[in-house]
């Protein structure tokens, strides 16, 4: 029983990482119908940002706290650049965007290899985060995973506040629901797109910072997560925060428990089968926007 609970906790923290990544994806996918394969490289950029900062700021704790906003800005800026250079030109061609951004992702990985070298690097975690908390009954919670969970929930909260309560959020939701109408109502959809891309990509950067606490930093670290994160978006329903939150945690726990009872590889296959089965029941994902549109 304790094993199951411990494993579930690990799963929840995996889910938290997936959630951080999927939040940005669901924003851009939902609003612009854009599949950004380079999203994984924004994670990588966030992780390397932490690495670089730790070299100049020796205190692991301070550098981690500084890295969060800086990684958000770095990854966000990369996202805006990508949107401005390529993605806005490919509007209405979502499948082509997928391939183009894959090309960008290849180049960014190589760039990372050229700058930081191909081997993985590590950052030191602050002491506080390397400890465990024992909550009794043989269950221990790793502080770094608790931190990630907290970070993910904070991001969800922040994003919800932005979307629900600010004028920017209203504009974003308007564009998601009806782009043409938003445009003729005087919303600069181009500017909203760019802002969304900034936030979404920035969240990937934050996810990258979180990942430095649980694993090494390498040029291909983003690709390991990107497909899973996309599956979260597909299952959760496009443009739906609620769906992404539930799906990320469910997939994380499912994956983690299956890994324990079988093997990593079997778990992957079972999760995929479960997703296809789920789509039989709800092909549009967990939550959908009901519209009268034909497609």
């Amino acid at each position: 029983m304790t094993v199951v609970l411990n494993q579930s906790f690990t799963g929840i923290s995996i889910g938290a990482v997936l959630l951080l990544i999927a939040l940005g994806l669901t924003l851009t996918f939902g609003q612009m119908g854009v599949i950004n394969m380079a999203h994984g490289e924004f994670i990588m950029a966030g992780a390397y940002t932490t690495y670089v900062l730790q070299k100049s700021i020796s205190s692991a704790g301070v550098s981690l706290l500084v890295a969060l906003p800086v990684a958000f800005l770095v990854a966000g800026a990369m996202g805006v650049l990508l949107e401005w250079l390529l993605i806005r030109r490919l509007y209405t061609r979502p499948l082509d965007t997928l391939l183009v951004t894959w090309g960008v992702s290849l180049m960014l990985q190589q760039l990372a290899r050229d700058i930081f070298g191909a081997p993985n690097v590590q950052t030191a975690a602050p002491n506080l985060l390397t400890e465990n908390i024992s909550v009794g009954g043989g269950i221990t919670l790793a502080n770094n995973r608790l931190f990630i969970l907290g970070l993910a929930l904070l991001c969800v909260l922040g994003l919800t506040v932005v979307l629900r309560l600010t004028p920017l959020g209203r504009r974003i939701r308007a564009v998601v629901q009806n782009r043409d109408l938003a445009e003729v109502s005087g919303i600069s959809t181009g500017r909203v797109d760019r802002t969304t891309f900034f936030i979404g990509s920035g969240l990937a950067g934050v996810a990258g910072v979180a990942l430095t606490l649980v694993g090494p930093i390498g040029p291909t670290m983003g690709t390991n997560y990107i497909v899973d994160a996309f599956l979260v978006v597909v299952v959760g329903g496009i443009g739906q925060l609620k769906g992404s939150v539930i799906t990320a945690f469910v997939l994380g726990v499912l994956q983690s428990v299956l890994e324990y009872s079988t093997t990593v590889s079997v778990a992957k296959v079972v999760v995929l089968v479960a997703i296809v089965a789920f789509l039989q029941w709800r092909p549009q994902g967990l939550y959908t926007l009901r519209t009268r549109s034909l497609a």
Partner: protein, 259 residues
């Protein structure tokens, strides 16, 4: 003309609590040329969507003896019910001939499908003549003028061998000459088909309708001949907000695009 009529009983469609169609009864006899009119949001397109299986609905829609509700879209189409959309949707990269050939082909066996088209099916030739597109048959449909695309769509329904045509604003955006030509086409078609037209253009309706149903807020407001409907005080009120002479029922009130 004999054949199946369309019988709608207590049809209801709800979008997240909003009643788009709210208990509609409708009888369309075989051979009718029925116009469905009504203000924006009256539920005209949704009604057609429900009949053709595009949205879920409750109640009953019978075509002849067949209940349509609950069947998948392509099965309803195979029963002989065809429709067009507000935006002309033809296969732009294919030629006029290929468009019609595909429309004629549902139910072709695999062997026919895997072979190249050797001759033009008779139904396709006939439809080309009826719609006046014979000279354009090898053009890609994407280069056709707006009106021609609408005619091609109607032609596709003809070769599809439908018995009931549901046309969603077929003359929207057409020039005067195109409207007249379309009206004449509809009259020709209605000689051996049942036709239902959703329309905003009152002049067009007056010239060509055999019978009219007025929808308002998801319900049938009035039904009858053109003259009867025009004389109906309720209709005048809905359209103009006051009971008066119905003449200036403007044709092209802007309709929000359903994207």
């Amino acid at each position: 003309m004999s054949g199946e009529g369309l019988t709608v009983r207590d049809l209801r469609v709800t979008f997240d609590g909003f009643k788009a169609v709210d208990g509609v009864d409708l009888d369309i006899r075989p051979g009718d040329l029925r116009f469905l009119i009504g203000p924006n949001g009256a539920g005209k397109t949704t009604l057609v969507d429900a009949v053709t299986g595009l949205v879920k609905a409750t109640g009953s829609v019978r075509f002849g003896d067949e209940e349509l509700l609950g069947r998948p879209v392509h099965r309803i189409a195979r029963l002989g019910i065809g429709r067009t959309f507000q935006t002309a949707t033809v296969f732009e990269e294919l030629t006029v001939l290929q468009n019609l050939d595909i429309a004629a082909g549902a139910g072709r066996g695999p062997l026919t499908m895997l072979r190249r088209r050797k001759s033009v099916p008779e139904a396709v030739t006939k439809a080309l003549e009826t719609t006046g597109l014979t000279d354009l048959r090898d053009r890609p449909a994407g280069v056709l003028a707006h009106g021609q695309k609408q005619w091609l769509e109607i032609g596709m329904l003809l070769v599809q061998d439908v018995k009931l045509l549901l046309l969603d604003e077929p003359v929207a955006g057409m020039s005067h000459d195109e409207r007249e030509a379309t009206g004449a086409l509809l009259q020709r078609v209605s000689e051996d088909h049942t036709v239902v037209v959703i329309e905003h253009d009152m002049d067009f309706m007056r010239s060509f309708a055999r019978s009219v149903t007025v929808l308002h807020a998801g319900q049938v407001l009035s039904e009858g001949t053109v003259a009867e409907v025009q004389a109906d005080a309720k209709v005048q009120e809905v359209y103009l907000g006051r009971a008066s002479e119905p003449e200036p029922i403007a044709a092209s009130l802007p309709v929000p695009e359903e994207a």
